[in-house]
């Protein structure tokens, strides 16, 4: 009998360290599937972030590099300039990309670096025990917003796709989620498009994935999925914010 669903070759067969209901495992499996499908395992270099996903290299059987908090886009730039024909992607969380690494992501996007960024947004700092992230929703309770995030004191949730899509150097910017098989399939399609954007040397791509952190949201995994659909997407609407294919159509 032919197996129609199996472990991707790029995914390493090892016990996971992620909490039950965490989205990282889903996103990383998708990356492994895409690398297999595009047949780029031997030419892909990935960047593991800080935070819970620092051990991404335990799961993806490719050349990988760590980067300090916020710096993956700079490290990815350094790698890509040495190997312009390799596929370089960074995997970053919300604190990494939208707080300490805001300068790096903006300027890497602005240079139009031909890399792909996978931005996992779960609106909280997981590894450091649940402090406020730049993407924490208004009124969301975290360890450092015990009464809920207050715009006056803490500022507003930062919408990175919207910011990045107005930068001339970007070519493909999309926001997806992992709350249903349909959304997971769509996330896969978008990440794959990000890789294809790079393979075709079209420039900078970023896919923001709205993901779960049941432990620091103090919810069950199922409640967490519902929370994304019902609450998170109000602040962070899903969609494609920039697409080089449409730009070409407009130009024609």
């Amino acid at each position: 009998m032919e197996a129609i669903y199996k472990k991707p070759e790029t995914l390493i067969d090892t016990p996971t360290h992620y909490c039950p209901g965490c989205g990282h495992g889903i996103v990383q499996r998708l990356i492994a599937e895409i690398i297999d499908e595009l047949d780029i395992r031997e030419k892909t270099i990935g960047l593991a972030p800080v935070g819970c996903a620092v051990l991404a290299y335990n799961y993806l059987d490719i050349d990988m590099c760590e980067a300090a908090h916020g710096r993956p886009p700079a490290v990815a730039t350094g790698i890509k300039r040495v190997h312009p024909d390799k596929i370089v992607f960074s995997y970053q969380g919300d604190g990494d990309l939208a707080a300490i690494g805001t300068a790096e992501i903006i300027h890497t996007a602005n240079r139009g670096e031909n890399i792909t960024v996978i931005f996992v947004n779960n609106a909280v700092y997981g590894m450091t025990n649940g402090q406020m992230a730049p993407t924490t929703l208004l009124n969301q309770r975290t360890l450092t917003t015990p009464q809920g995030r207050d715009a006056g004191a803490d500022g507003y949730p930062l919408r990175m796709c919207e910011i990045l899509s107005i930068i001339d150097g970007t070519r493909f910017i999309a926001r997806t989620s992992i709350t249903s098989p349909k959304n997971i399939n769509r996330t896969k399609k978008m990440i794959k498009k990000g890789f294809q954007t790079q393979i075709e040397k079209r420039g900078f791509s970023l896919i923001e994935v709205l993901s779960t952190c049941p432990v620091y949201w103090h919810m069950t995994p199922c409640e967490s999925m519902k929370y994304i659909d019902e609450q998170m997407t109000r602040t962070f609407p899903l969609g494609i914010f920039k697409d080089w294919e449409n730009e070409n159509k407009d130009n024609n």
Partner: protein, 364 residues
Amino acid sequence: MSTNKNQKFLLTGNEASAEAAILAGCRYYYGYPITPQNEIMTHMSLRMPQVGGTFIQVESELAAIYMVYGSAAAGGRTMTSSSSPGISLKQEGISYLAGSELPCVIINMQRGGPGLGDISPAQSDYFQAVKGGGHGDYHTIVLAPSSVQEAADLVFDAFDLADCYRNPVMILGDAQLGQMMEPVVFEKKQKTDLSAKTWALTGARGRKRNIVKSFYPVKGELEEFNIKLQKKYREIEAEEVRYEEIDTENADIVIVAYGTSARICREVLKEARKKNMKIGMIRPVTLWPFPSVIIGRVAEKVQSILTVEMSAGQMVEDVRLSVNGKCPVHFYGRTGGGIPSPREILNKISELINIKEKITCATS
């Protein structure tokens, strides 16, 4: 510029360092402007495209050092340069480079500090350069040129040492060295017998995947890694100490000075000779590893050692450790961008000789 063999160029220390890097095979340069080292950047922006290399004027010193990190991890010869406040920003990345054992070259043309300070020459980043600078138990190899020719020569050595030991190498100059012009000949060549970078990230074609990291969360792993690093540092200390020794035979007083200070002290030595004063000098070329053994040996036979620095006294601590009580260690320094004159240093030496006479009188 074309660089035919034995052709002599009149260049600033900054330009000579940049050109030497290109001739040494550096193809990835990332930098952020800061005086007094901007000529390194401008030279790179012109030359890198000519040799098929990469030049990026980066948004910050942090991003610059992490682009260096990326290019080093990918197996490229890579460099950044800055001056004191900028180097402070790069220290986070330098710790990561040391922790991931990545080779690269960092030039620091020091200026006065602390804080924004000024743009005058200083040697007040010694502690930061040789004691680690960033977090963790690590060392950067530190080379200290005292002429434009040596600035160029040491760049070649810096890249080779970095690759040989998989370690960041810092060239510690200062505003004077960076800005002054001297004739320079590019004679050195890149070493050809270095091992292939089999650890580099190139895509896992036909081999097991490579991982570049400095994170060791499993208990005991990090200590094991640190012990391995320390073993490497001991090897570097045994193999790579460099210094210049001038007139130390029969000297009464030996000066220890590096870089621009040592250059000024050469004049002091000339003047002293005219006055029949027996003064010698040890000039550390590697500040880490430090030439402790030779300083300790010389300390056994001299009246005293005088350390001269453009700082409030930083290297003098390493000199004292090297001397280990075998003779008195004195210090003369100017700080905040002040440059000592030969006359000032000679006065200090005269003072030391008078102290000796007084001690002799008191005990006789």
